[in-house]
């Protein structure tokens, strides 16, 4: 079903809210970095490209049709600092499939913020979003990302080797997934 969440979404230490035009500098601070771009489809972004990315995200706040994305800025509740973004894509309306993703500023790694924000997105997907299965994908070398998927309780469903080219090299990819009944068991326990 279509999903129009109420913003901001609050977690213990974070605020998940739509992007605004004032976020460009904070996004540029991490999207300009090569180490952040390494496993993203984009290369490191210029400030102009960040402005465009933020502009696109401002309206990505609801799921109305297949392929729609919700991309939210993640803010520290205490300081208001923007530390990254989390996303939910509606992959299939009929089969109620979703995909989550995230990009975080390395400056804020290691505090469990990504886990906290991603769990909020799973709750959004499986709760009001009525999604049946949520998947996430990452490069096999991106250990921080798949460790996070495992902390979220997701199962590794796929390990593709050399199935595509990624940035002119053979790609190796993990896909993780979580089913609605598994999410419910996690939250009950």
């Amino acid at each position: 079903m279509a999903l129009y969440p109420d913003y901001p979404i609050r977690t213990e230490r974070l605020l998940l809210r739509p992007f605004t035009r004032g976020d460009v500098d904070a996004v540029f601070a991490y999207r300009r970095r090569e180490d952040v771009a390494r496993y993203l489809f984009d290369v490191a972004l210029s400030r102009e490209e960040c402005a465009l990315a933020v502009q696109q995200r401002i309206s990505q706040v609801a799921l109305e049709a297949e392929g729609d994305k919700i991309i939210l800025a993640v803010e520290l509740a205490e300081s208001g600092a923007l530390i990254g973004e989390v996303s939910l894509i509606w992959r299939s309306v009929d089969a109620r499939q979703g995909e989550v993703g995230w990009i975080f500023d390395p400056q804020y790694h290691g505090h469990g913020y990504a886990t906290e924000a991603a769990n909020a997105m799973l709750d959004l997907a499986f709760g009001p979003g009525d999604i049946h299965r949520v998947a996430a994908r990452c490069d096999v070398r991106n250990e921080a990302s798949w460790r996070l998927m495992e902390r979220l309780g997701m199962r590794r469903e796929a390990h593709f080797r050399e199935h595509a080219l990624f940035k002119s090299q053979w790609d190796e990819e993990f896909i993780y997934a979580l089913l609605w009944q598994e999410w419910r068991a996690l939250r009950a326990g």
Binding site: S92, D94, A95, Q97, H132, R133, A135, E157, A158, H159, F160, R161, E162, H163, A164, L165, W170, D171, I175, A177, L179
Partner: protein, 198 residues
């Protein structure tokens, strides 16, 4: 690449392109409910099989990505059609191909699929220079899963409830093999020209 040399002979089979005259033998297995569970196109009667056969008859080579080569599996002795196997060129830049097969259950369990799929792997890697071949299977199709394991393929994905298939939650396995992982069979060879069909 050099032109494709068909038909292909294996130990007990001849792999050739489909002909109009294959309709009844194809319908004999393609209309079975057990087959409908796993095939893409609905072929519930001979008329629908005729439509599918028309498409399969056009699958004679791989010229560009998206093309499919479909070969009839016929027995060397009695020329009987026992099933078919196909190679789909899914991606050119990354050299990806997908293999699918169907066997008439009356002729299953004799290793024909393994023979035919093995010959298609040779074709994919040696002739078409494909880098990675993958096959998909419903999670309940144990014969198919066993075959892929016997061929030395790796299980790359096990999707659960990731899609709806004919009104039920789907369970799908992906197996794959890279060109450097494929153990070529010495027994597969082109037939001499005199054995070629028309």
């Amino acid at each position: 690449m050099s032109s494709l040399s068909l038909p292909i002979g294996t130990d007990r089979l001849i792999l050739r392109t489909f002909e109009r005259a294959d309709l009844d033998a194809l319908a004999a297995y393609h209309t079975l409910p057990s087959m409908q569970r796993y095939v893409f196109s609905r072929t519930r009667d001979v008329a629908e099989v005729a439509g599918a056969l028309n498409i399969m008859r056009s699958h004679v080579s791989l010229q560009r990505p998206g093309d499919t080569l479909t070969l009839a599996m016929t027995r060397q002795g009695d020329k009987k059609l026992v099933g078919h196997v196909s190679l789909h060129w899914s991606d050119a830049t990354a050299g990806q191909g997908e293999v699918r097969f169907c066997i008439n259950p009356a002729h299953a369990g004799q290793g024909y699929c393994r023979e035919a799929v093995g010959a298609v792997f040779d074709l994919a890697f040696d002739h078409f220079r494909i880098h990675r071949v993958f096959m998909r299977s419903d999670g309940r199709n144990h014969h198919s899963i066993k075959l892929m394991q016997q061929l030395g393929m790796r299980l790359e994905a096990h999707y659960r409830e990731h899609a709806l298939f004919q009104g039920e939650w789907d369970e799908e396995l992906h197996f794959a093999i890279l060109d450097r992982e494929w153990q070529r069979s010495a027994k597969v060879s082109d037939l001499p020209p005199r054995h070629r069909v028309a």
